[in-house]
């Protein structure tokens, strides 16, 4: 017997510090001023989706620091990845980084992440909030997608892929053997390769020695828009204003205070502060998992 779509829900019992719906974002709309958004630790979301038998781009939840608690209305298969964290079902410990069965009406708790900041919770069928421009991601810069979760919210869940049914018993169990998890957690320092440009000529040679000379830590002002840093200011070789220009993911923008900001998924599509270099996309998940105070070491890399 098939349940209706409204019968598949997750009740948000505890939303946590900042829990948002995330998939792989909405790239391709930057020319409209729409940020790409999407999971900050994309490999972790993909792994969670794989564990529950979802397509890689299904929407899950991204938690920040202190997890969240949910009560599914029906028996569901879930997986928690990203930063390691305690997972409990009705108070009993359950596996992190694995496919886990949660009975209908039970309380699923994701605890405090350590090391790292962000956990990814995938549910078989995916979180089924309405998509905006092809994505269900919450974009905190421009406000597209669903608002961050609040206590008492009810999230719809999609049908389990591959079964056409929604009893929650589908292909997820078969995905249990998917053991290719990205390495969890950041190291004691965050190493960020930086390819110079496009506005490296706006900075002095001394600014590059400073940037690559260490002395930076992750600032507590970091968020989904950017990893902010504390450390020595980078000196400009020239004054004046830069006309607004397109910004890439991973751009290292230098605002007037001279402290580099590394742009993450919700970054503005254009900006007027010079970009001294760009961090490759593959290094950004680690940036998103590095808590405030983590030492940051920028290292030069060349582009082809």
């Amino acid at each position: 017997m098939s349940a209706g779509p409204t019968d598949r829900t997750l009740l948000v019992v505890r939303a946590g510090a900042l829990t948002t719906v995330q998939d792989l974002g909405r790239p391709g709309h930057a020319h409209l001023g729409v940020p790409r958004s999407g999971a900050l630790d994309g490999p972790a979301l993909r792994a969670a989706n794989r564990l529950v038998g979802n397509p890689a781009g299904a929407a899950g939840l991204e938690t920040t620091v202190n997890g969240c608690a949910l009560r599914p209305s029906y028996a569901v298969t879930v997986a928690v990845t990203g930063a390691p964290s305690p997972v409990r079902i009705d108070g009993r410990p359950a596996a992190w980084g694995a496919s886990v069965r949660v009975p209908g009406g039970a309380l699923l708790e994701v605890g405090t992440a350590a090391p790292g900041l962000r956990c990814y919770l995938a549910v078989a069928g995916g979180v089924a909030v309405p998509p905006v421009l092809g994505s269900r991601s919450t974009d905190l810069l421009s406000g597209l997608g669903p608002a961050p979760l609040a206590d008492g919210d009810v999230l719809p869940v999609g049908p389990v892929p591959g079964t056409g049914a929604d009893t929650g018993t589908g292909t997820a169990a078969g995905a249990r053997g998917a053991d290719v998890l990205p390495l969890p957690g950041p190291g004691p320092e965050l190493v960020l390769p930086v390819a110079r440009g496009p506005r490296d000529d706006w900075f002095t040679a001394d600014a590059f020695r400073t940037l690559f000379g260490g002395g930076y830590i992750v600032s507590p002002a970091s968020n989904r828009i950017g990893l902010r840093t504390r450390g020595p200011a980078l000196r400009r070789a020239r004054g004046g204003e830069l006309p607004s220009e397109g910004m890439v993911l991973g751009a290292v923008q230098v605002p007037p205070d001279g402290r580099p900001v590394v742009f993450l998924a919700d970054h503005p599509t254009t900006g007027g502060y010079p970009v001294i270099g760009v961090v490759p996309e593959g290094s950004l998940p680690a940036a998103a998992q590095s808590p405030p105070g983590t030492p940051v070491r920028f290292v030069p890399v060349s582009t082809r």
């Binding site: 790239p27 391709g28 930057a30 020319h31 409209l32 001023g33 729409v34 905006v132 421009l133 421009s142 597209l144 390819a195 110079r196 440009g197 496009p198 506005r199 006309p243 607004s244 220009e245 397109g246 910004m247 890439v248 991973g250 751009a251 503005p268 599509t269 254009t270 970009v275 760009v278 961090v279 490759p280 996309e281 582009t303 082809r304």
Partner: protein, 207 residues
Amino acid sequence: MRLRVLRAGADAVLVETATGEETESLHAELLRRRAAGELAGVTEIVPAARTVLVCGLADPRAFGAEVAGWDVPPVPRGRGAAVEIAVRFDGPDLAEVAGLWGVPPREVAAIVTATPFRVAFCGFAPGFGYLTGLPDRLHVPRRAEPRTAVPAGSVALAGPYAGVYPRSSPGGWQVIGTTGAALWDAAREPAALLSPGTEVRFTEVAR
């Protein structure tokens, strides 16, 4: 057209032109070539004030060398079909703008509705287009005191640009009128009324 090509990471370049007008032409040329299937793999083409960012390039160095040799024709204004935006010219800065232009306040509507605008680029918020077309002598400075909340639908001017606020937000542009047009509607296809290259005509509705 002299183009400067700057690297922006592993798969992107920023192509810089000498003027905003050239940037609009370069952007149109990029769209034309993409439509013709010449830019396989390109994921984003993002115009801005003096640059166009091109992302998703397999070989950015080769692309940069190629683009520098392109013959980029200028794109005439006011030739294509225009999106019409009906405006009530009742903005709080209308008198200020009229003063800067040296015309009576009622003339502002006549000048704006007679100007063929084009979306040079978007940004600031989804649905916000930077519209060019005003001649140099009609460029106005931003307000000395930005407003903490400019209502959605405000039609405003700053520097070389005109724009319409898609939603209430802080802003320092000179507000000359209001429109009921939905600049952004996520339920509509396309969600954005304006995208780079779109021709725009303002029309006047009675007060």
